[in-house]
């Protein structure tokens, strides 16, 4: 469904992603593991149109999307849950969710989806009038995911969903990803934390120094010594 071929991305004079290729089949959870500074966020920014690649191709449903405006990528159903959640802090939970549908115009569909998000995250229904910035980290992550669901994703790109969460909340996050996938959502997940792909991912890629180091299966990442060694070597410099 999503195919990335030989993608290369530069920031000024430094090459951040080099010849990155992978694919995400419909209905699957695919993960990409990498250490701090490996280029994970850059990859997702490129997929969402926030960064223009220098070379390579990104195809969604066989159609090229690399270099499109973020709005056009969103309307195709490629929706990102950004790293660090990025809720709009002074705005209510309900407004945050409603703006998830900023690129849509089907009023009835939007209202129905809002109910579905509240059914999926009942906690958000309780707190819908509260400024999102006052919620706990775990609740903000729910807002960020709910907001992305409001955009009607056909594929969900998640940047370190476990980041900054307690072990208990990481378990909850894993459950959320599993439930979304069981409902048919295709998910491309980026993580530093091996626990998440180990629990939910099928194909798992390891990114080190801006290139795909190798590929394995989620069920094997926890006991593959190569995983750890490759991304310990994949630091900033």
């Amino acid at each position: 469904m999503l195919t990335v071929r030989n993608l290369s991305v530069w920031y000024g004079l430094s090459e951040v992603l080099r010849d990155v290729s992978f694919s995400v089949p419909r209905g699957e959870v695919v993960a990409l593991l990498g250490g701090n500074g490996a280029g994970k966020t850059t990859l997702l920014k490129t997929l969402s149109g926030l960064v223009k690649p220098r070379g390579g191709a990104v195809e969604f449903d066989e159609r090229p999307i690399a270099g499109l405006h973020p709005h056009d990528i969103v309307t195709k159903g490629v929706i990102q849950v950004p790293q660090g959640r990025f809720v709009w802090p002074s705005m209510s939970v309900a407004d945050n969710l409603a703006l998830g549908a900023a690129a849509r115009h089907d009023k009835a569909g939007i209202a129905a989806d809002l109910e579905r998000v509240y059914d999926f995250f009942p906690r958000l229904r309780e707190r819908r009038g509260v400024p999102a910035g006052t919620l706990s980290g775990g609740e903000q992550q729910m807002v960020a995911i709910g907001r992305a669901l409001m955009a009607r994703p056909r594929i969900l790109l998640m940047d370190e969903p476990s980041h900054g969460l307690s072990p208990r909340l990481v378990q909850e996050m894993i459950e959320v990803i599993r439930r979304l996938n069981e409902e048919g959502m295709t998910i491309f997940l980026i993580e530093q934390n091996i626990g998440v792909p180990a629990a939910v991912a099928g194909t798992t890629y390891v990114l080190a120094n801006g290139a795909i180091a190798f590929q394995t299966h989620g069920s094997k990442v926890a006991d593959d010594p190569e995983v750890l060694s490759s991304y310990l070597g994949g630091g900033r410099h």
């Binding site: 973020p70 709009w88 705005m91 407004d95």
Partner: protein, 292 residues
């Protein structure tokens, strides 16, 4: 009596400074940049109203709408000509560009309207005779101005809390990255922001015109007052800008009345310096960040 007079005229000019300051803050919080030509947008808005109303004899309301529309367009042009092309440049480039733009606009003002505002004054909106309210003489003009500013603020609040476009603007101001990711056309939000910010300066100008002489050089002093208001209110807060604007107006009127009239014009400067030295976060301090 003197105090009441100073207060009522201070509140009136303060309300107008608030309007100019809110436009400045609106652009600042959404785009991260101070528009150094904001005062000139005000000036051009005022002269557009002058042309429509005084020179062409059209009704005041037409002049108001014309000035608002004209300054909105100037704001949009600022976005197209200055902001969008420099969006990725270092912040200092934007400072230079808006300062440059202020000179261009001032030149345009001088070319078309140089000297005219002084020769043909803008007539008063309503009867200039004062009315007594609770023993205090108030000019109806002042009441009209304050009421209009209150209406503008209410409309703006409704815009941010009730409309989709307003919420998109708020979201872009709080986190543009997240705004892109839900498919908000952030560039259009920026364009609308520059337009609305300039339109607010235009509205203020239409109300200031009958109170003072319009000159092509009026922009800088308005910008300084709006600056003082925003710094006093805590840069980035629109509520703070309103409170700051009123305070600047009142302090300036008091200084002019009780110290020396020559102080009046520099009091905005003194306020800026004093706040930066003693309370750099403004009166509302850190609180300011969360408000609309």
């Amino acid at each position: 009596m003197l105090l009441a007079y100073a207060l009522s005229s201070g509140i009136t000019s303060g309300a107008l400074y608030a309007l100019v300051a809110v436009g400045l803050v609106l652009c600042y919080r959404t785009t991260g940049h101070i528009n150094f030509s904001h005062g000139e947008l005000f000036m051009i808005g005022g002269f557009l109203a002058f042309t429509l109303h005084v020179m062409w004899g059209l009704p005041y309301i037409v002049a108001l709408l014309g000035a608002v529309a004209g300054s909105f367009v100037l704001g949009v042009l600022t976005d197209r000509v200055v902001y969008q092309p420099l969006i990725k440049a270092p912040p200092i480039a934007m400072v230079m560009a808006t300062v440059g733009l202020s000179f261009v606009l001032k030149g345009i003002g001088r070319h078309f309207w140089g000297g005219q505002g002084e020769v043909v004054p803008f007539p008063p909106l309503v009867s200039p005779a004062p009315v007594l309210i609770g023993g205090v003489a108030v000019f109806p003009q002042q009441l009209v101005v304050v009421a209009s500013v209150v209406v503008c603020m209410l409309l703006l609040t409704l815009f941010f809390t009730r409309t989709r476009a307003g919420k998109m603007m708020q979201a872009t101001a709080e986190n543009a990255h997240a705004a892109y990711l839900v498919g908000i056309r952030v560039e259009r939000v920026y364009m609308l922001t520059w337009g609305v910010g300039a339109a607010l300066a235009g509205v203020a100008a239409v109300f200031v015109a009958p109170l003072t002489l319009l000159t092509p050089d009026i922009g800088l002093s308005l910008l300084l007052k709006a600056f003082a208001a925003t710094i006093l209110g805590g840069l980035g807060s629109m509520t703070g800008a309103v409170i700051g604007g009123l305070l600047v107006g009142i302090l300036e009127a008091l200084a002019g009345t009780y110290i020396a009239s020559s102080i009046q014009d520099v009091s905005a400067f003194i306020i800026i310096l004093a706040v930066l030295v003693f309370r750099p976060t403004g009166l509302l301090g850190a609180r300011a960040r969360r408000e609309v």
